[in-house]
Symmetry: C2
């Protein structure tokens, strides 16, 4: 196995800067679009372990990536809780039964791993397919991020329902977040038992909160997840990623996680100065750089490599998922540049 990804997370020596890319198995790849067509729709693709494995492996077979990530969705947990996840074309994720009130929250089941067996089967299928070449990352959405979708019924610009409950009925929101936290812990632990070598928590919407609300309603629960996973699997590295969370890095480091993801609106050297002694940093190329020419991609990759000081503790990634309209050739340029030039900047 190439251990660079895990070693970088644990700040052990690496041969070169490892790279993987958020949404590396995705619509920018023609073979992914073919698999999705075969599956029928996005959720059918997620729920079929063989197809989930197929698309997980597609970028691995194409590019020299240092980690694979389970192909799945962050909203599998609310779906398993009975909210009825579906995707409407061009509008993103939706729930048939969004949460309306406290009674809905109280009714939610917390032990839902039985309904998520397709995920664990996917993990073990992928693990076999990888046959030890590179590590496999498992993941979940953060409790706050899951809660927003469950309360809004889908994506939102204003987060009206989530913030209404946050301000007016914080206890109800805490009950929801507690339930989600317990489910996420069991979910990630089972992914690890099924073969995940590392896990990541995506907090897509933590950045829409004020600092105190971020600490109380998002980070506090991610800290519980770190604790709950470490209690069962002390050696499995955990990465937390709050989009737009660059101002909270020292608090994120306090959770005891091993790595933190940052987006491109934070400077990598600033982030390293703040928390580089305590954990590994994942990021942080602007995904839009992949719209540029190979020369510009190389220049921007070098800028990021130059910002990071030291031999380990950096996992190269985009600051957000790769977008569907990217030319796969440019992804190739990115991966190759990181590997080719990382030694020059150590």
């Amino acid at each position: 196995m190439s251990f660079d990804y895990i070693n970088a997370l644990l700040k052990k020596p690496t041969t070169r800067t490892p790279i993987w890319v958020m949404r590396q198995a995705g619509r920018y790849l023609p073979e992914y679009r073919a698999s999705r067509k075969k599956a029928g729709d996005f959720m059918a693709l997620c729920k079929n372990p063989n197809l989930a494995c197929e698309v997980t492996m597609q970028p691995i077979d194409r590019f020299d990536l240092d980690a694979a990530i389970l192909f799945s969705d962050i909203l599998t947990i609310p779906d398993a809780m009975g909210l009825g996840l579906y995707f409407s074309e061009g509008e993103g994720p939706k729930f048939k039964n969004p949460l309306q009130n406290l009674a809905d929250i109280e009714k939610l089941p917390t032990y839902i791993n039985d309904d998520l067996s397709y995920v664990f089967d996917g993990v073990s299928t992928i693990k076999k397919a990888l046959s030890g070449r590179i590590p496999l990352i498992g993941f979940s959405g953060s409790p706050w991020t899951l809660a927003t979708y469950m309360l809004e019924g889908g994506s939102s610009k204003t987060f009206a329902n989530s913030k209404k409950i946050l301000f007016n009925e914080p206890k109800s929101l805490h009950l929801l977040l507690d339930k989600l936290t317990n489910s996420v812990i069991e979910y990630l632990n089972q992914q690890i038992l099924s073969g995940a070598d590392s896990v990541m928590v995506f907090d897509t919407w933590g950045g829409v909160l004020s600092k105190q609300n971020y600490l109380d309603f998002s980070l506090k629960y991610m800290a519980k997840i770190v604790k709950g996973v470490k209690a069962q699997h002390p050696n499995i590295p955990i990465t937390l990623f709050s989009k737009n969370g660059g101002k909270h890095l020292s608090h994120i480091a306090d959770t005891g996680c091993d790595g933190v993801g940052i987006d491109w609106t934070v400077e990598l050297d600033d982030a390293q100065a703040q928390v580089g002694e305590r954990l590994a940093i994942q990021g942080n190329l602007d995904p839009a750089v992949l719209y540029a020419t190979p020369e510009i991609i190389e220049r921007e990759v070098k800028k990021i490599l130059a910002q990071f000081k030291g031999d380990t503790g950096h996992i190269f990634n985009l600051g957000h998922g790769i977008t569907p309209d990217i030319d796969p050739e440019n992804m190739q340029v990115l991966v190759d540049c990181v590997h080719k030039f990382s030694q020059d900047y150590r």
Copy 2:
């Protein structure tokens, strides 16, 4: 005239913390919805000076606000340049003729004030209606923000076209930004000649850029605007507001502007510690607090008042525009709480 708003911006003594609210003339007010219906559509409302005045005055007549802001749109300049602004229901602003290439940029006219006379007529009409009660704020979008709409043809999630040109043809983008900057300077200066007591530049999308790109492609041009307006009108205070720009405050202060707007993801006391000596700070209640009960609104207003140290230099506002689904009663609670309690926290 109540001078608190202008005095706070200039850090002169104030009687109490002044407040105005972004989008205070807007869809949350039933009388606004009636005016808009009368006008036909949003652009017809903007382009009719008497109706623009009518809706500007609506929140002033209802609430004890410390400033009025011209009712208009940030995209009037590209519209006057010939791009054909229109609004499609639920999808936000669109351009009939987005910019496709360098030739389109080269063709753009820069002196466009003749086509914006409806704005200046609006300003002078409002100024008369206010009859010196409170100051009037004029505004423009920032060059970078205008450029993104002109290049994308409307709103965007990925800013693919804008970033493609930023990375691949920076000179073409700088040409566009230069032209827009000149137009914005003339536009704001003419608003001031027509009666605006203060002007503000809204940089809605500066926060989607990395630090260096923000400095090079957004802030640099806002700095030119500050200079160009101050050259003609040295005593007119200027406020810059980059959404998600809380990490760039010291650079924003370097432009020589008088005030900086901040959103709720920055802490007001942190912002004051960074730049409070150099300029006034506008903000920064989470607009979602207005979904809460009056008791919670009062608590959150007090938290913000408590964060700001000193007698002047704070203009209370939301961190973003008030949303259409807010109860006007809650806006009343907000305005009254700020005035009622601000003395207690000085």
